[in-house]
């Protein structure tokens, strides 16, 4: 009987603490990230299988597979994977970070909220801290994250100098 009481108490405490720390996590397995080479608009690709999670406490993550980038031109896709990104060796890119001004986002109220995101981007085997400004849109409880930023090739030891030194990347994830 005593054991049962203790067990009951533990359950109650656990439930109470989990509700205090409860955070809502929004997620998608099919978010969208695209990029375009800065000096050649023909070099453009899109990935529709971005896994992203966003918590109302401000944690945010994105993961994608380099082989999932679809180019308009097949030959470019081959060069991207084999010559520039070595996608067999480094199949995935990951970002993990925090929205530094999460308090300004009201997840219960429709609107477009400007956010600043700070975190680490791992690409081509190199991890670098980055800061990106974006917008979180809330519409009828549905979230969308949008951001545009520049990736400098040499920051991630990517030698694509014959094509471009940097790309414009765009995030558009519906959760």
């Amino acid at each position: 009987m005593k054991m049962k009481k203790i067990f009951g108490l533990v359950v109650v405490v656990l439930l109470a603490s989990s509700s205090v720390n409860a955070q809502k996590i929004y997620g998608t397995r099919n978010g969208k990230i695209s990029f375009t080479a800065q000096k050649d608009e023909d070099v453009t690709a899109v990935n529709n299988e971005v896994v992203s999670r966003l918590s109302d406490k401000g944690e945010i993550s994105f993961s994608l597979l380099l082989k999932g980038f679809k180019f308009a031109y097949a030959e470019m896709q081959t060069h991207f994977n084999n010559d520039y990104l070595q996608s067999n060796q480094f199949p995935r890119a990951d970002f993990k970070g925090n929205i530094t001004n999460i308090k300004t986002v009201d997840f219960t109220k429709n609107g477009n909220y400007k956010v600043a995101v700070k975190g680490n981007l791992t690409l081509h085997g190199v991890t670098k801290p980055i800061t990106v400004n974006g917008i979180i849109s809330v519409k009828a409880g549905k979230l969308t994250a949008n951001a545009q930023f520049i990736i400098v090739m040499k920051d991630f030891n990517i030698d694509a100098a014959t094509v471009t030194n940097q790309v414009n990347a765009e995030i558009n994830c519906v959760y």
Binding site: K32, S63, A74, Q77
Partner: protein, 141 residues
């Protein structure tokens, strides 16, 4: 015309020709079509098990390969660019095989068993294995 100017002209013509063939190739090479490839036949569960056990080994075996995957449909949805997406169930409730169709397969009911052939692009821990650019091979009656 002097002999050397002729040689230079011929060389320049050859270089221009090779250059234009290279540019032509870049803009006309067709995208890979999985329908004409023989896929590695396996179940969704087997593919998940392989990646869960050893990502590097599974990448060596399956990355960029045509996979003919059979399994139970968890759900069907549409991605942000209008393509049909099916998630296959695994024995881990948080983990699926995420499959994107390049041609719409029509409506696929949850819990039905289907076979899908596509290209494996890799593994995202705690989430899914991705197979894309795929087609429907069959639906189990």
């Amino acid at each position: 015309m002097k002999k050397w100017t002729k040689i230079i002209l011929i060389l320049a013509t050859i270089a221009a020709l090779i250059g234009s063939i290279m540019v032509y190739r870049i803009f006309t090479k067709p995208h890979r079509d999985v329908t004409s490839e023989a896929g590695v036949k396996m179940t969704a569960q087997q593919l998940f098990n392989a990646f869960k056990a050893d990502e590097v080994a599974a990448n060596a075996l399956y990355l960029d390969k045509a996979i003919e995957l059979s399994g139970e449909v968890l759900d069907q949805s549409t991605n942000q660019d209008g393509q049909s997406v099916v998630n296959f169930k695994t024995d881990d409730p948080f983990f699926v095989i995420n499959c994107t169709f390049k041609t719409h397969p029509g409506e696929l009911k949850p819990s039905s068993t289907i076979t899908f052939k596509g290209i494996c692009t890799g593994y995202i821990p705690d989430a899914n294995v991705v197979v894309n650019e795929g087609v429907l091979v069959g639906v189990k009656p």
